[in-house]
Amino acid sequence: MVPTNYYVILSAVLFGLGVFAFIFKRNVITIFMSIELMLNAVNLAFVAFSQALGKLDGQVFVLFVIVVAAAEAAVGLGIIILIARNRQTLNVERVDLLKL
């Protein structure tokens, strides 16, 4: 029996790594992958608390999060394809039309 704390601390670590990847990486696809990493970390916390409380609500929420992540991935990758087609780059620093 693994304590719930361990799962939640692992979840915090993975979320932190996802945040760091999000602000450090420069490739738009990798940034998108770091968002998926953060979603996964939150899912881990959901399942851990679901197990600790003996209720299944958390696991149902995880299913919904996964569905939303799938929809997000489909639309987001469509947007990335458009960026690559219109600006011939995947570097977020080159996508700066809104910058002053």
Binding site: A12, V13, R26, I29, T30, Q59, G78
Partner: protein, 171 residues
């Protein structure tokens, strides 16, 4: 008991190390395809952790949807766009150390908060024989039936949106 390494703990630390190594590798790899493969390692490790927690349905969905569908989509797009090694400017390299500090503070704060308030969560009853798949199906199709139907609409909109976005107009 204390720090006695029981079998679930060993499995937990193995999978946790795998997940953290995969996440660090996602950051360190320069090529997006290597980052994507690292992320697959993280997802498989998390699926193992779900199995360890007795959430076998979530573990299966994690493998099928995340590892099987979403990551294939990512790898496919990386190959489609022929994404190369990412380039860092001096400004973006400068963002590393402060960002690392910020992230350490965030993760430390969350971990400290959880470690302090964990006792209240621990007190819950341990129902080992929780029939997770059957229970989830009952919840999804009874209590959460309207959100469930809404997600089908969401997926439909996402499919249409992706099609419209990626469609090349012939002018």
């Amino acid at each position: 008991m204390g720090w006695a390494m029981t079998a679930p703990l060993v499995v937990f630390f193995g999978l946790a190390a795998l997940a953290v190594i995969g996440a660090v590798s996602l950051i360190l790899q320069k090529h997006p395809i290597h980052s994507a493969l690292s992320l697959i390692v993280v997802m498989v490790a998390l699926a193992g952790l779900y199995l360890l927690m007795g959430a076998e349905f979530v573990a299966a969905v994690q493998i099928i949807v995340y590892g099987g569908a979403i990551m294939v989509l990512f790898v496919f797009v990386i190959m489609l766009l022929n994404a190369g090694v990412e380039e860092h400017t001096s400004l973006s390299k400068m963002a590393g150390p402060p960002g690392l500090l910020l992230v350490l503070a965030l993760a430390g704060f969350i971990a400290a908060t959880v470690a302090r308030s964990g006792a209240s969560v621990q007190a819950a009853t341990q129902t080992g024989a929780l029939s997770s798949t059957k229970g989830i199906s009952e919840m999804v199709f009874k209590d959460f039936v309207y959100p469930f139907e809404l997600t089908s609409f969401l997926v439909l909109v996402a499919i249409l949106g992706a099609t419209v976005l990626a469609h090349r107009e012939k002018s």
